[in-house]
Symmetry: C2
Subunit: 531 residues, 2 copies
């Protein structure tokens, strides 16, 4: 038997006085009055569909009702009526709709515990792995519907499987929360995303109205509600707002920064009083995207690199300890940091022929740095990094740092003032902060200020299911966030130029980074003209 006392969360159990000649309010009004008292608000509505069975239910359940409610802005709605004696859980579904992967977590709305989790590839990748291809594909109505149907069908199928595994029915899912970037959110809802990529970059919608999940084809409870995290423009989406909710930085007194490190750097800076967000392109190099040996994190991907400063011997670690096939983003950042630390690249990110010695080979008129020789790789071919590829990585890390610096500058703080630095996203969670700081991609803060959030989008989506407060907070976060348009003006370019050095032209910003003595003269000579 379930508790009848007030609980936090979306499931409420109430006991009503039975009707009499002296107290002959209608059944629905009686029920709503009781629920209003428990919710502490008059703003409550109920669907007509629920009224049909209400009188019978009240009488067979002895005027005790367990119900699922949900909140839309200031108003609660009754979503479903349940039997307090029914041991079956009422559940919610949290969705992180990524461009590549979709993560779903089923949550018990009463115990507020996760019940099951599942990750699957976003089937829209069969149309195009990147967002741009999909947006172009969606420009016909058929294309848009197809992309939406692919995603929604896959969610339904995976939900079916998840429910089967836990002995549940999809109809026991009453609330869905979904976080995705702006383009994925549009495609999920079947809204045309074409203007996201065309000046002046206008989404169809920023604040998504609460709706019935069935309206977009989700096969959950027919009256189940869908909450979609809002966005603040084409490049700062619901996944970031979910991340902010998950990090709690919007409730903190400490100046905090949250960054989703990737091809796009999406950043928010602030505290309980204000939030300033921006997004900018850091380039695919950070994720290994522009290197020939770059690959997604997977078996055989080099994800950790170190170089013995004395012997300059390179040690790599691969995922699943398979023979190396390529390098993923975190490995690449490690590699660059290790090369610098060993004095094998200089402050400008150029290979030092002396210290690199036999690692440097020339092929097709280009210098290649051999990371793993062919005899040790899975393919038998050398895994190499060219100077051009390294230059691209340096530009990307400089862009990332410049974005952070510009955002901080816009509100008159410096990066060192940041008391809590949250790194969000799957990629962010595998980066070694020491390496990222070592190349000057992230600011040189005490390491205990760094917090790796992992997949904060799904974390925030789960949180929105847990209480009345979650959704409210998202609204408040969204309202309090100011979006800073990054203008690539002279000031930005000056910052960018300074950040193209390793770790930076202004070494005082990176006290924990030791510049190898062999490189110091070069740094000095370079700094003079700029300082």
């Amino acid at each position: 038997m379930r508790k009848s006392t007030a609980q936090p969360g979306w499931v409420k159990t109430i006991t009503l006085d039975p009707p009499s000649l002296e107290n002959n309010t209608a059944d629905a009004d009686r029920f709503l009055e009781g629920l209003k008292k428990q919710l502490g608000t008059d703003a409550l509505s109920i669907d007509l569909e629920l009224l049909f069975g209400l009188p019978e239910r009240l009488r067979t359940q002895g005027f005790r009702v367990r119900c699922v409610v949900f909140k839309d802005l200031d108003r609660y709605a009754v979503v479903a009526l349940l039997d307090p004696e029914d041991p079956q859980p009422a559940t919610g579904l949290a969705l992180d709709i990524g461009t590549t992967s979709v993560v779903m977590v089923l949550v018990d709305l009463e115990t507020r515990q996760p019940l099951a989790r599942r990750t699957f590839t976003n089937p829209q990748v069969q149309i195009g792995p990147d967002i741009l291809t999909r947006i172009h594909y969606s420009e016909t109505r058929e294309g848009l519907f197809h992309l939406k149907a692919l995603l929604v069908s896959a969610i339904n199928e995976n939900l079916e499987a998840l429910c089967r595994m836990k002995g549940l029915k999809k109809e026991q899912v009453y609330i869905v929360s979904a976080a995705g970037n702006t383009a994925m959110t549009h495609l999920f809802l079947g809204l045309p995303p074409g203007r996201l990529i065309r000046e002046p970059y206008i989404p169809v919608v920023n604040r998504i109205p609460l709706l019935e999940a069935a309206r977009i084809g989700l096969r959950v409870h027919p009256a189940g509600r869908l909450f979609v995290f809002p966005n603040i423009g084409s490049y700062f989406g619901g996944d970031l707002f979910a991340g902010i909710l998950y990090s709690g930085l919007h409730e903190s007194d400490t100046l905090s920064l949250l960054v989703d490190v990737g091809t796009n750097a999406e950043v928010v800076l602030g505290n309980r009083d204000w939030l300033m967000a921006c997004a900018g392109a850091a380039g695919p190099a950070l994720e290994g995207g522009v290197t020939k040996m770059g690959m997604r994190a997977g078996p055989g991907a080099i994800d950790r690199v170190s170089i013995d400063p004395a012997t300059r011997k390179i040690r790599v670690q691969t995922i699943d300890n398979q023979p190396p096939r390529g390098i993923c983003g975190s490995g690449l950042i490690d590699l660059a940091a290790a090369l610098f630390k060993a004095g094998m690249i200089n402050v400008q990110g150029k290979f030092n022929p002396v210290s690199c010695s036999e690692h440097l080979v020339q092929r097709d008129g280009e210098w290649h740095f051999v990371v793993v020789p062919g005899r040790e790789t899975a393919t038998g071919e050398d895994l190499t990094l060219t100077q051009a590829e390294l230059d691209s990585l340096i530009r990307s890390k400089a862009a990332m740092y410049t974005i952070l610096e510009t955002l901080a500058h816009s509100v008159g703080v410096s990066l060192e003032d940041i008391g809590a630095f949250y790194v969000a996203g799957a990629f962010g969670s595998v980066i070694d902060p020491d390496s990222a700081i070592g190349i000057g991609m992230l600011p040189d803060l005490p390491r205990d200020r760094f917090h790796v959030l992992g997949n904060s989008a799904i974390g925030g989506a789960v949180q929105a299911l847990l209480s009345e407060d979650g959704i409210d907070q998202v609204g408040k976060i969204r309202d309090r966030t100011t979006y800073l348009e990054l203008n690539v003006n002279q000031a930005f370019m000056n910052r960018f130029s300074a950040a193209k050095f390793i770790p930076h032209t202004d070494l005082s910003r990176f006290p924990s980074v030791t510049v190898p003595s062999v490189l110091k003269p070069a740094l000095e000579s370079k700094r003079t003209p700029l300082s």
Copy 2:
């Protein structure tokens, strides 16, 4: 071209600033911000379905949008988006769902003028002409669905016809308002009405949630909204609340009373500060229901009766001037009043054999008063009224007066204090106040205080379509109304006994009614024991 200035009513036209790099809010948010400014509230939501076409619409219409909004409690919802250049009207449909007849009025939501009106027989009469039969029929799920489907299909068909006549499409109907008694409201919505007639007489719902009209099968615009007038119990329904709205008594400083005269007397007394309602059975006699010659108002029905006091000759007037076939309610009340005035019935409502003379004939052991001899009737048979039938009418008029008196007494006012007396309903509109007062059915107020409202249910339903204010007012009226349960206790019975005289035992209450001198001694002898 339509005006772009703010208009009262549910259709708004707004002009937005087009987006730019500096002002790159999403299309939906831009539109809603603009609309919020015009509505003067932040409580506004929009259906997902409307977002799909919004970006294209904004750009083809030069960022001018005409839209239909509707209000649910404190929140507006955007129902539909239209082109400001489209000359087609946006319309609303008002429904009076009577047990016998359904009246529909199509209203232009912008000009706020009625466009067309249509009345048809409620097809549920084929199941049963009275509510009770229908409620019994609805006790199976199939029966309930059948009753609902009959009504909704008929509304759809008649709407189709109405629209065709005016060159409109059903999809141009965006808002529906419906007023009916509590049982009809339940059947219209497909809610089981069985408990309305069983102690303790509990409706499924009093305050009906605003819903999409399509949810109950109304074929109007797919997103069209349905407002259903609330009820306050089994016997005081939405038709009465519509009547109150239409009368305006809830906004008046004057103590006012609204009564729907019929088999049930539904009464509300009050002013801008308070409203007290009650309902009680007056009996079918008032509508001619228990007389053999009783008939519905229709061709050949006697609707007016007068008797020459000198000659005691009876003059009747029939509907359409057809030969008399029967008598309808207003004719019966006229007849009783005329008989009394001519001294042909006494203060107790008994035929006076002397003054009735040749009109009284005995048949089957009963005294019959011949109203129209067979040679003048359509059927060739005498139209007669028996003493038992007259007794029944007297009891009904006494019940009506007693209900009015009890309601007034409950709030400490007397019936003479009533400054405005509204008579609602089709039947009420044909009653001659002089006759009704003459028999003591209605209080003897100066005649200019009587206001015949006609079909106030459809009047109120239309009014709810005209402005933001109408729906709000209905909610306020409902919240402010106290329902008085009529207890048939000793005080009630004493009042009832006193009211069974014509016009009343207390003649001082009916100064305008002249008691024929021939009857005075009888009245005196009767009053003594009661006074």
